[in-house]
Symmetry: C2
């Protein structure tokens, strides 16, 4: 009589785990070298300091840590976020700040708050795979906007906006996931000039912004936002630790209130303990030097990856040098498939993420995402050598 | 040009905060005595022990605490939950356990996984106010099933099931919120006999089950569930601390997988730190004696409330003695309004929750929820005396 399969909603009936999770069963095998993850390096985790801080806040501030808290987040952390955003030329009051359990939760809450089935959403092409899933769960029509090696093309964005109402534009302007591309100041200005003429929310997802290894910082889209149509999403996942699940949205108060209502009806609030640990870590001045340490480590890892690509990848391969973040984007020649290449790579015990799942349309078959934050330098050389050999085998076999 | 009001989804356009949150602005004033909250007593919080445990897990197990974790939860905690559920006559494997960020998140994930707009959901009348909100956000038609002073009426449930397909039945069998009523073994058996003939999921929400002050424990619905149609929801919020936001669902593996997909696309995973703190607290044997301490304290508070009601409430009032939990349910005579009574109570600096918001239909105007876990004994006497006086004033003025 009982058959749960018949009960699942339209959105969940065929919902599958994403490719990155699927690859886990390989990449956790001993001896496997993986460039597939998106994890920060565990050697950056300040666990001793966090241990001291967590014991201290629980001892001195037990009730705040342990009682039900407010849905918009712990006031000291909201104040800290408001101050740092204001210092980054985004005038921010605490009413504009909502603490969330990771930026992905902000995405989910915002999607839920605005999407009616069939609504159009514009995204970079490629873009963050979980964002594609989240938008589609709520029944949105996700439209990939033409993008090139410098990111989304403003004129193409305008053309899509002209075609009819759009609820959200989802952008990752710094060291994009998966491409590592940073949008230039010129493109940012152009985009904000365009969107102000449309009733649309722009999501500025910025989990990697502080992890810059070369070039100059570019102002946030939110600094060019006179109407309050940008929802800026920041996170402590990549600069302290993802396991804490603490992130924040900075936005117009009306939108903030809807996010808070969404949280009230989801996890009620982000755990106060993890919020207060993050707050103390920042307030005591640990964050800035820690980010510098992370950047030093990741600069080295990125440079090693670039050197190894030069050394081991066949000359037919193309890749984009990222100025920050965790990812590097590479392309096989047109007509080849990064998914098929996995048939060569996985038996050789090396992995990456085939890029097609980052595309809202059917394109990107020949692309792949390589993560450079987790592998050791030794594994990076070994793994990229192996991968280079397998690419050569695949290209040769396909001739 | 930009107007966010025009962008919100159908569900969020008119979504408001609930009455309990609205009352906060009164109840946080100095000198106010509130029976409106649903918080455990902060004097039960084991913050010193949690401080030690949190420092220890961060020091010894930093990477597990701080790196991205799996969406279904930390394996040791899932194993612990599986063992305790098995000991409570619910044979449970780790595959049946999903750790969530509070049971309310389980509700949200489950609702999202099964509800298509227009689907029918059956609830007790009255029931948990946030469940009503969550179901309605996903567009469900929520149907209140006739209930009496012993809880939901099985025959009435059957009649509603006969009327057409139902996706979910939402029940709080122990010390229900808001009524404090516990479903008898007989009614539980009757309900499970009925539901096995329908393709429907039964949610057994059990946040208070361990907080029993009188009477005998009654077996979970999930012990009478040969087809795996019950999703049991347990939580550490009321027996350790709500601020940690750690709860769990125990259910059929197929349903568990959908909950996990929902989490992957929401907060990704519950913070590993809070999960591991809870696990260590349980594993080291702190939980059982702590629950006994909580029960001792709350028994006293409940008995004080019952005594004060006898002493100060007018004879026209009706109330139900709860055998556990945090709430007591009271009724004004028919035709009177607990919402109107607030006009008397709030100026006298005493608060409760008017019961109508716990009803899916328009009934319950004369009902109110009184919480007995937070006020001190002294405040309880003072507050219930004040409230009794104001009820008398209201009844007299309305004659």
């Amino acid at each position: 009589m009982f058959d749960s399969e018949l009960l699942f909603s339209g959105a969940f009936k065929n919902l599958k785990g994403n490719i990155i999770r699927e690859l886990y069963k390989y990449t956790t095998q001993p001896g496997f070298i993986s460039f597939a993850g998106g994890n920060p390096s565990p050697q950056t985790f300040p666990n001793e300091i966090l241990a001291d801080l967590s014991a201290e806040v629980l001892r001195n501030n037990g009730v705040s840590c342990l009682q039900y808290g407010v849905s918009n987040g712990q006031m000291p952390l909201r104040q800290y976020v408001a101050e740092t955003m204001t210092a980054e030329q985004v005038p921010t009051a605490v009413e504009n700040v909502v603490i969330t359990s990771g930026s992905q939760q902000t995405l989910d809450l915002l999607a839920k708050a605005v999407i009616n089935p069939g609504d159009r959403i514009l995204v970079e092409s490629p873009t963050y795979v979980a964002a594609l899933k989240i938008f589609s769960i709520y029944g949105a029509e996700v439209v990939a906007v033409e993008s090139d090696d410098e990111g989304i093309i403003p004129q193409a964005l305008k053309e899509e906006l002209e075609k009819g109402p759009v609820k959200l534009i989802y952008l990752i302007p710094n060291f994009q996931n998966p491409t590592g591309i940073t949008l230039s100041l010129e493109r940012r200005k152009e985009i904000m000039d365009i969107v102000q003429h449309y009733n649309v929310i722009v999501i500025e997802d910025d989990p990697y912004g502080k992890l810059r290894y070369s070039g100059e910082a570019v102002p946030h889209l939110k600094t060019m936002d006179p109407q309050g149509q940008v929802v800026y999403m920041g996170s402590f996942s990549k600069i302290i630790a993802p396991g804490l699940r603490v992130a924040y949205a900075v936005c117009d108060e009306k939108i903030a209130q809807k996010l808070v209502l969404g949280k009230q009806n989801n996890d009620m609030h982000t755990p106060s303990l993890t919020q207060l640990i993050v707050y103390e870590y920042c307030k005591r001045g640990y964050l800035e030097p820690h980010i510098q340490e992370c950047c030093k480590l990741y600069t080295q890892k990125r440079d090693t990856m670039l050197n190894m690509l030069d050394k081991y990848f066949p000359k037919e391969m193309h890749w984009i040098k990222p100025d920050g973040g965790l990812f590097l984007w590479s392309k096989l020649p047109e007509g080849y498939s990064a998914m098929k290449l996995l048939d060569y790579a996985l038996p050789a015990k090396v992995a990456y993420v085939p890029g097609d799942s980052f595309f809202a349309d059917e394109s990107g078959i020949n692309t792949m995402r390589l993560n450079f934050s987790t592998a050791t330098e030794e594994d990076m050389e070994k793994g990229l050598k192996l991968l280079g050999e397998q690419i050569e085998n695949y290209l040769r076999d396909s001739k």
